[in-house]
């Protein structure tokens, strides 16, 4: 059976006077029903753009320049806008980082959820309202019935994120794209929202693509993870395998630079990755990570690193792994 979401060889570029700036390169990724897949990266890694591509919402002058995006086996690229609209919301829900910006400030939460339900399901206003209350209660919104009459500004950050999730889930989508859904929230509220996502996955078999920069969130919530750097997947595999034994030097550096509870000031300076994340315009030649890599070889600046399969759905893009694989 086809996976819920299958992205193959996706490339997204921005057209400029002197050629294309490639923001996502040959990205391949799958999300199965009931699976949470983490897409991890820093600024400019292309993680949010990947989500927009899945929704057919790449902002101009950006465009998809290659590859395929299939939802339950059906190709989404090339769909007419009217067809795409039936997919967005109904089959793919979206939750953003800034719930405040995504909600309409002049409509009550109730109106927005009811509209979202009725846009995709042929039910009466009364029935939609009943479902809205049920949905909010399900999302642990305190005092769900009364909250329907609230405007977004009357809600706290966590409540807004719950309202936005209710809208995203109103039409019972099969896939949820969650782009940094907890970054703007306090840690205690973040824990609640992550638990919610976990429940939805278990109860509804929802597939979730969770976009984040936080490896702690990946460890807590994701079955599998893809690590992006400069628009490319540099490592992919089960969360357990990637976090316990990262294969790519970038993943390794990223994990090492994250402080852990239990360490203290006596442990000395933090491990760092030297340099900064390159902008699209300054993308280094060869392996884009080579200027920051502590194990680079002379050919890393000239030749594109190969994707090396490491078994059990695990893989990484590094020439050193290819050499090891041959030697071993």
């Amino acid at each position: 059976m086809a996976p819920l979401l299958r992205i193959r060889d996706l490339s997204v570029a921005f057209r400029e006077r002197d050629g294309d700036l490639v923001a996502v390169r040959h990205l391949s990724l799958e999300v199965a029903a009931g699976e949470v897949v983490g897409l991890v990266g820093e600024s400019g890694s292309g993680k949010s753009l990947t989500a927009l591509a899945v929704l057919g919402l790449v902002p101009p002058p950006g465009r998809i320049t290659g590859g395929s995006i299939a939802l339950a086996g059906r190709e989404l690229r090339g769909l007419a806008e009217s067809e795409y609209r039936a997919v967005r919301g109904a089959r793919i829900g979206l939750v953003f980082q800034e719930p405040g910006a995504a909600l309409n400030p002049v409509l009550t939460i109730g109106t927005q959820i009811v509209e979202a339900i009725r846009a995709h399901r042929d039910v009466s206003r009364r029935e939609a309202r009943r479902r809205a209350v049920e949905l909010l209660a399900r999302l642990a919104m305190p005092d769900a019935e009364a909250r329907l009459a609230s405007y977004p500004h009357e809600l706290s950050g966590g409540q807004k994120q719950r309202a936005l999730m209710a809208i995203a889930l109103a039409a019972e989508p099969e896939l949820l794209l969650a782009d940094e859904p907890t970054t703007a929230l306090d840690v205690t509220v973040q824990a609640q929202v992550l638990d919610l996502l976990e429940e939805l996955r278990c109860e509804r078999g929802l597939g979730i693509l969770l976009i984040t920069h936080d490896l702690g969130i990946v460890a807590r919530s994701c079955d599998r993870v893809a690590v992006l750097y400069a628009g490319e997947v540099v490592e992919q595999g089960t969360t357990e395998s990637v976090l316990a034994a990262p294969a790519h030097p970038y993943t390794r550096g990223l994990l090492a630079s994250v402080p852990r509870l239990g360490e203290d000031a006596g442990d000395g300076p933090l491990a760092t990755i030297p340099g900064t994340v390159p902008s699209l315009r300054e993308r280094p030649s060869g392996c884009p990570f080579h200027p920051r890599c502590d194990v680079r070889r002379s050919d890393c600046s000239t030749s594109e690193p190969p994707w090396v399969e490491l078994g059990a759905g695990r893989g990484a893009r590094c020439v050193l792994l290819a050499t090891e694989a041959k030697a071993g």
């Binding site: 950050g157 306090d186 609640q192 976090l243 000031a265 990755i273």
Partner: protein, 351 residues
Amino acid sequence: MSPLLEVRGLRKEFAVLSPLLKRRVGTVAAVDGVDLTIEPGEIVALVGESGSGKTTLGRSLLRLIEPTSGSVRFRGEDLLALDAEAMRRRRRAMQMVFQDPYGSLNPRLRVRDALFEPVRVHRLAPASERDAIVARLLAEVGLPAEAAARYPHEFSGGQRQRIGIARALATSPELLIADEPVSALDVSVRAQVVNLLLELRARRNLAILFIAHDLALVGRIADRIVVLYLGRVVEEGPATRVLRRPEHPYTVALLSAVPSPTPGAADGRLVLAGEPPSPAHPPAGCRFHPRCPIAEARCSVDSPELVASAGGRRVACHFPGRLAPAGKARDMEPFDRNDVMRKDAGDGATQ
């Protein structure tokens, strides 16, 4: 030796205005009677969630926000008694680093001018020494000398934060108040900036009030940790003790909520219900009681005082230490090399 900074009973109230008539209908105490001491060269972390008052507190210390009452002594001198001009002069010794390295630098000033401005304002050196001073500051924060002629937008977030730190250092301060200085930076760049702050502390004996919400990060750099909840200190003490043996249920919950990148480390975590209430309507009794997993009847009536506890710590809880940090304690065991901790462990953490 007297502390560098000594804050007693600091309180900052904001007026609550009715939306239509702009009449004062009440007050919110964003900071409600906070005591805080910072020694020279010490890194003190101020942690808490939104509404905890940590940013208001940080700014009140410099009187960027005027405190309502209490005292702030810097090297023994009461800052709240100073007139505006004297306070302006005092700020030379206390500088601020902001979260947003994009918003805190004037986009029209070249780095050279941005760095020299505080020196000029405080009349610390003549213009003829500008280039030498700027070059020294840039070198100190790890930026190339060529950066002087460029504008802020030409730099990445991490580099911009280095510029922000260099600017704060320009007047040779003794205290840096850093409000979430790395939260807006990419993960791979955060560690660099944190290490820079550690280097500066070592080199200049700089004291730092590090305002943050990331407990794992804070544990790595702070000597002491102060945990705020709704404008009040709920727990305070040496960083290692507060993080390894938290005694206030809120600290336990905060620690439990930090997602660890170690696979399997999340077992036995504690998820708090609800959200931090608005400081405009703080709960009666202990402000944490509506969310507290071990609250009893007394907690909704009596507000607990901040009292001394084991190991140089202060805790504001009627039942300190009763809520044990489950799963996480195991997670920390390999690091638990400090046998002092074992004396009061008593709940199975001993091997």
